[in-house]
């Protein structure tokens, strides 16, 4: 299934904010290859720079040194092959569910592609289970529904690489599980590549093919753990597996040393 060429290659990447003596190292010597179709989770404590790495992959930031290649090509400028999903609500409050999901098509095709746009929007609204809410504004939706809108908005323009920055971090525990299952269902069908940032160990285990564990700032990758749990997975049924417990302890041991109260420096 996997092709030879990784979709995203990161080599000896270093990022510091500021220059000279005041330079704040954020990421150090990051090397990582993301295979096509894989679900990679970046796991680490708050402020370890994992969200910053996502921004780098989206082309929103330039590395201080090192290289990033997307589909074999060095990344210059914004990564238009990617879709970006953040923890916070980034829906446009003045647009309806339909309008928010459709915006990507307006931007990508720079015009209404005839009736095709309306049809596509309708099918994605159904895909994320929001039929009947087309004309609602975000203010009237629950947190989970807003997440679904954001997910549909990202999926509709068919990016090959999905960058997800703690997308379910703000949801309550039950809703989080529902959304994780939803994401697994959508991902398993789509064959897309996902890079997913979280500090939630259980979430990493439920979703990932591989987990890259980060150390605290300046962020480095401590280890990459392959999560050999069977698929298709279900966020509620996976905890009973003996292998789950083993992987949990393994990840926990890697994380343990990194956890320490540190002032959070803005990752943007």
């Amino acid at each position: 299934m996997r092709q030879a060429e990784p979709i995203l290659q990161i080599e000896n990447l270093v990022l510091s904010f500021g220059t000279g003596d005041a330079a704040l190292p954020v990421l150090q010597n990051i090397s990582l290859e993301v295979q096509r179709g894989e679900f990679l989770v970046l796991l680490g404590p708050s402020g370890c720079g994992k969200s910053t790495l996502l921004n780098l992959a989206a082309g929103m930031l330039k590395p201080t040194s090192g290289e990033l290649r997307y589909a074999g090509e060095p990344l210059t400028g914004v990564n238009r092959g990617a879709g970006y999903l953040t923890q916070d609500d980034t829906l446009l409050p003045w647009r309806t569910v339909e309008g928010n999901i459709g915006i990507a098509l307006e931007l990508k095709y720079h015009a209404d592609a005839g009736g095709r746009k309306a049809e596509l929007v309708r099918s994605y609204i159904e895909l994320v289970g929001l039929k009947g809410f087309e004309q609602y504004h975000p203010a009237r939706l629950s947190g989970g529904m807003r997440k679904r809108v954001a997910l549909a908005r990202t999926l509709i323009y068919d990016p090959a690489l999905l960058l997800m920055d703690e997308p379910f971090g703000a949801l309550d525990a039950q809703l989080k599980i529902v959304m994780q299952n939803e994401l697994l269902r959508l991902w398993e069908r789509s064959g897309k590549t996902v890079v997913f940032v979280t500090h939630d160990l259980a979430e990493a285990l439920v979703l990932a093919d591989r987990v890259a564990v980060f150390s605290k700032r300046p962020g480095t990758i401590k280890d990459i753990v392959t999560i050999d749990l069977p698929r298709p997975r279900n966020a509620t049924g996976i905890h009973g597996l003996p292998r789950y417990g083993e992987l949990y302890s393994e990840l926990w041991k890697l994380l343990e040393g990194s956890i320490e109260e540190t002032p959070v420096v803005a990752e943007r």
Binding site: M60, L107, R140
Partner: protein, 255 residues
């Protein structure tokens, strides 16, 4: 539903009583010590009626309205363009903001004499002054609005393939809507202030012209009549700009 408070009389009645008390006080003072500096309410009332029917108010009022509205519209258009552009392009903001702040620090009414000298006694000098006032009041509002936009939204749209123009049109403009309306609500009364100031400095028509003219011929009756009209003008203008948000419909309105 709150039950009516039985102990207090209707609020409208109280308001009328307060207004009547003010006029009565004025009438009593004018009757007790007649002076050319304090015309009697009846004389002022008669003048208001006269000027309402002989076209004095209509002619001069129209000039002032045109000055205010044209200045507001022109100032607002430039303020939105520059405010959004500076909000979006950080380097542009850093380059221009100090200069803008310096210009804004000039009390804008001090520009009335030079504008009159440059643009003449007609409405052009007044529109220039109300326009520049509206521009600054709105510009800083729009800029704050644009700066308050979550950069991650910009990033997400860029990743989706949005051009700079699309981001300005589809994100910055609608997101700044409330800030633009707030700016207009502030700029409305100020446009009247600056238009009247410029008219008093030098003009051939307008309500400010009427005030200045009345004072010059010591026609205090006429002067008070214009001031009363100006007060009503101010109220109407405030109501107009206050209703702008409702007229254009609320973006968050449930459908």
């Amino acid at each position: 539903m709150t039950p009516p408070d039985r102990r207090s009389p209707p609020i409208l009645l109280l308001q009328c009583a307060a207004a009547a008390a003010l006029v009565a006080l004025w009438a009593a003072r004018a009757a007790a010590a007649p002076s050319m500096w304090l015309p009697a309410p009846l004389a002022v009332g008669a003048r208001i009626v006269k000027w309402s029917f002989d076209g004095t108010f209509a002619r001069n009022g129209a000039v002032t309205v045109i000055e205010c509205v044209a200045g507001l519209v022109i100032g607002a258009i430039f303020a939105v363009l520059y405010g959004l552009a500076l909000g979006y392009y950080g380097w542009l903001r850093r380059a221009i903001y100090p200069v803008a702040l310096l210009c804004y620090s000039v009390p804008l009414v001090a520009l009335a004499p030079p504008f009159t000298a440059v643009f003449g006694l007609g409405i052009v000098s007044k529109i220039a002054l109300t326009g520049i006032t509206a521009f600054f009041l709105l510009f800083f509002n729009v800029l704050s609005g644009a700066e308050a936009i979550d950069r991650r939204l910009t990033a997400i749209l860029q990743v989706m393939g949005a051009s700079d123009r699309e981001i300005l049109r589809k994100l910055f403009l609608p997101a700044s809507r409330e800030w633009i309306l707030t700016g207009l609500r502030v700029a409305g009364p100020f446009s009247l202030l600056t238009a009247i100031t410029a008219e008093i400095w030098g003009s051939m028509a307008g309500l400010g012209f009427l005030v200045k003219n009345a004072v010059e011929v010591t026609d205090m009756t006429g002067m008070v009549a214009v001031l009363i009209l100006l007060a009503l003008f101010g109220v109407a203008l405030n109501a107009l700009v206050g209703s702008l948000g409702r007229l254009s419909g609320s973006g968050n309105a449930p459908s």
